[in-house]
């Protein structure tokens, strides 16, 4: 046994390595926003936010925020040269119309058929969905970044989701704290694994069968 695992920053770094030069990318609110910090040197990603900006940049210096220039998480952002504004229907037309290359989201659970649950745990409290149910449809690749297990140690990669669904059959790749897993033909297919952990241990922490299809690469991420 080992408790080796990637930090959130390292998971975000790994996900960033797969973003191609020139890609149009939507990052979900919260943890996925970290991916923007690790854009690969020499590549340019153009970030989309649901409230109507393409090509926004990092947060401004504190005290210089302009509250008409925010992202979908209502945080202040900046503009890069070549940015564009548009209204909400155009913004979600870009999403559903398949014009984004990549969407990266967080997850409560991902099922082996690509179902995603990430908006609600149960029926208590105030439900709030935002743009999650739209973002899972339309981007050419819908990837998830997440811890491999919950804080209680339960698997987040499961046979079928028990939490309310965000979308059906929508996720194509999952970057976890232990592995990189593709979803193909209704199966989890292991692509990369932390070298410090055994296959048996990884399987024990995964709630559905992990298929092997060809080489499993080492998941090597720098200290961040």
């Amino acid at each position: 046994m080992t408790d080796a695992k990637l930090s959130n920053a390292q998971i975000a770094w790994r996900a960033a390595q797969d973003i191609e030069d020139g890609a149009y990318v939507n990052l979900g609110i919260g943890f996925p926003e970290m991916v923007a910090q690790y854009t690969v040197e020499g590549r340019e990603a153009i970030f989309h936010t649901e409230n109507g900006i393409l090509n926004f940049g990092p947060a401004p210096e504190p005290g210089t925020e302009d509250w008409d220039l925010i992202n979908a998480g209502k945080k202040a952002v900046t503009l890069k040269p070549g940015a564009a504004f548009f209204h909400h229907a155009d913004s979600f037309g870009m999403v559903r119309g398949g014009h984004l290359d990549v969407a990266i989201l967080g997850a409560l659970q991902v099922a082996q058929n690509g179902d995603l649950a990430n908006w609600r745990v149960g029926n208590k409290g105030v439900p709030a969905v935002g743009g999650a149910m739209d973002l899972v449809h339309g981007a050419k690749r819908v990837a998830v970044i997440t811890d491999h297990v919950t804080k209680k140690g339960d698997p987040k990669l499961v046979e079928s989701c028990t939490f309310p669904l965000t979308g059906v059959g929508c996720v194509t790749r999952v970057y976890t704290s232990l592995a990189v897993v593709d979803i193909e033909d209704g199966h989890f297919v292991l692509r990369e694994k932390l070298p410090q952990i055994s296959m048996d241990h990884l399987r024990a922490l995964t709630g559905a069968e992990l298929h092997i299809d060809g080489d499993v690469a080492e998941l090597n991420v720098p200290e961040l």
Binding site: I53, W67, H88, A89, G93, V126, P127, V129
Partner: protein, 239 residues
Amino acid sequence: MDKICPSLAEAVAGIPDGAVVMIGGFGGSGAPIELIHALIDAGPKDLTVINNNAGNGRIGIAAMIDAGMVAKMICSFPKSSDPRAFTDRYLAGEIALELVPQGTLAERIRAAGAGIPAFYTPSSYGTELAEGKPVGEFDGRSYVQERWLKADFALLKADTADTYGNLTYRMAARNFNPLMAAAATTTIVQARQILAPGGIEPENVITPGLYVDTLVEVTDPQQEETLIRAGATYEGAKA
């Protein structure tokens, strides 16, 4: 043609009890705070309010909820940095909620303005938010049928208007405002400045004036986020 109204109070005076009211903005950006606060002063009850969110702090839509004016919210994300106004009433069963995925909300409003009574979208297919809605299969994929979303009134925030009601917006404050302008029977706009015809280059018009009924000039509009950070209340913000 004169769409200019001399006061906020007059602009919202015709909004009756039970009206369906769209309010522009995404969080604080593009939120017509002055028009909302004038509506609170007017005090119609049993309103259905359509906005992306459900208010923040003790100002704007949250203050409408605090004042007991809102019977139902139609929104995608009824949470905020200080969501007490909506949360307390919702958990007490005192306010109804129709939760709509954000892109579906935008498209339902757009469809209403464009005269499209229903459309199909992949969003929410297979989820609890699609329960009871017709499903159609197109080219091997399943889609949920959604209906247009209209309103009696829209309260919007623009940057620059001309007297015909042609509008521009400031940065990401555009968001839902142009969609709502077309989807409401009566569209009421607060603008930072109202110029003579020709004051806006035709190339730069975002919302053409035919959608706009009433204009009020609010030269130094308050920003919801700034008020929130100052801990402002509706009464304080008006002072």
